[in-house]
Symmetry: C2
């Protein structure tokens, strides 16, 4: 157990967009709201209070404005959430460690992309389930890479590295499945404020006797409670890359 190997994807916003004026510009005359501010405020509101707590009136209040004013900038609450998802995913473009094209081979490209997405998930743990579960625009635009441009980038990187079309598509499927599963579990394990009321202590041990019929769980509870998510992610990612390498070799022979 390497114990404390410093998670590299910790939220020290590498290019985040979720910085907004909290309640009202304390200074002078209120500049008119715009869509970016609304979406940014929604993101930080969700990060702070959870999605269930987000209402149009409350978000308006957060921006020093009546709730109805938001409808000048988003079509509806659903449209607001769509914009939130899009904005969060677009933070990838601002990440200096993620490239749209493979600069040091496709493995490096996929590594960087994966960590970029993980950084986003950890920076916005309460938003990520939205990214994961909102219906995609087309059935082949799979979360969490919910943008045509990234799908294009992905396919370009792999086919440009020798993957056949079929292999690139298979890789795309495997890669998105990997990202979604691991990151969703990671943010759901973290204490996401799911509904306005926070839990009491940080990580309460199970009440004594609750695990009575479950000897393995009881014995392994400390192990199970360890946060190995960074190492686990890295290992599963490397395993996936090896699998893709195998696919690439077969794809080349075929």
């Amino acid at each position: 157990m390497v114990d404390d190997a410093q998670d590299p994807d910790t939220p020290e916003a590498r290019g985040g967009a979720a910085a907004t004026i909290p309640t009202a510009p304390p200074g002078a005359g209120r500049r008119p709201l715009d869509r970016r501010q609304v979406l940014g405020a929604a993101i930080s509101f969700i990060d702070e209070h959870g999605i269930d707590a987000l209402t149009m009136r409350r978000l308006g209040g957060h921006l020093g404005v009546e709730g109805m004013a938001l409808y000048r900038h988003v079509r509806s609450r659903e449209g607001l959430l769509d914009g939130v998802v899009e904005t969060v995913v677009d933070e990838l473009y601002g990440d200096p460690d993620v490239f749209l094209e493979p600069r040091h081979g496709w493995q490096d490209y996929l590594q960087r992309l994966a960590h970029g997405v993980r950084r986003i998930a950890l920076a916005h743990p309460a938003v990520f389930p939205l990214v994961a579960t909102r219906p995609p625009a087309a059935p082949w635009v799979r979360p969490p890479l919910r943008s045509l441009r990234w799908v294009e980038s992905f396919l370009d990187a792999l086919t440009g590295s020798g993957f056949s079309d079929e292999a690139a598509v298979a890789a795309y499927r495997a890669y998105t499945g990997f990202l979604l599963g691991h990151l969703l579990l990671e943010v759901s394990a973290r204490g996401v404020p799911i509904s306005s009321h926070d839990e009491e202590s940080d990580a309460a041990p199970p009440p004594p006797g609750a695990l009575d019929g479950y000897p393995h769980v009881r014995r392994l509870e400390p192990l199970l409670s360890e946060d190995e998510s960074a190492a686990e992610f890295e290992e599963a990612l490397e395993e996936l890359l090896e699998r893709l390498e195998r696919i690439l070799r077969e794809s080349r022979r075929g």
Copy 2:
């Protein structure tokens, strides 16, 4: 491409619980509602109309009862959804192809369990995102295996097959991540009625010109649109089992 290899997890309910009286017992005197009926009705309602369409009053109407009557059987709407998730996950117990203990080795055990969970996801595509994203009872009860009993079963199966404690826990993490990612993508790709309004045709081709800046996506669109989910699931599952086998070997040497 094996084309049409008949998906084995297709929803021909192997032990489902979601069978309930649709609107009202057409026959005689109305027996008093009970919790099972309420949860069953909620499940089929969600399957049919999506979660957003589920309101207490509508579900009541579906059962021939005023909305408030439901509160005799569930604490709140949230409690209702918790019950829905629990009920759906408990369908695993009714699946004759899934065993709580490994009868033919741990690989067979994991294969059966995975397909059992997949069958549930496909039988209740609109419920599965709830299974995936509802906050778990403890951080180490990971979706979609959201029950102490299955975690215990899992750990028992693996440690009983030679996995060390650490290896079993690592396997648990990898396995849940795999299931969650693949199944969530699969149900989200299927046309889940996310909000009351259904789309027009079954699978509309993208409007011409929409893919103009994305040559790879445009060229691979037919490939991307193919539903390879069954084969993809099987392949990723087998890959995972091989990885676990490697973990087991290392675990035995260590």
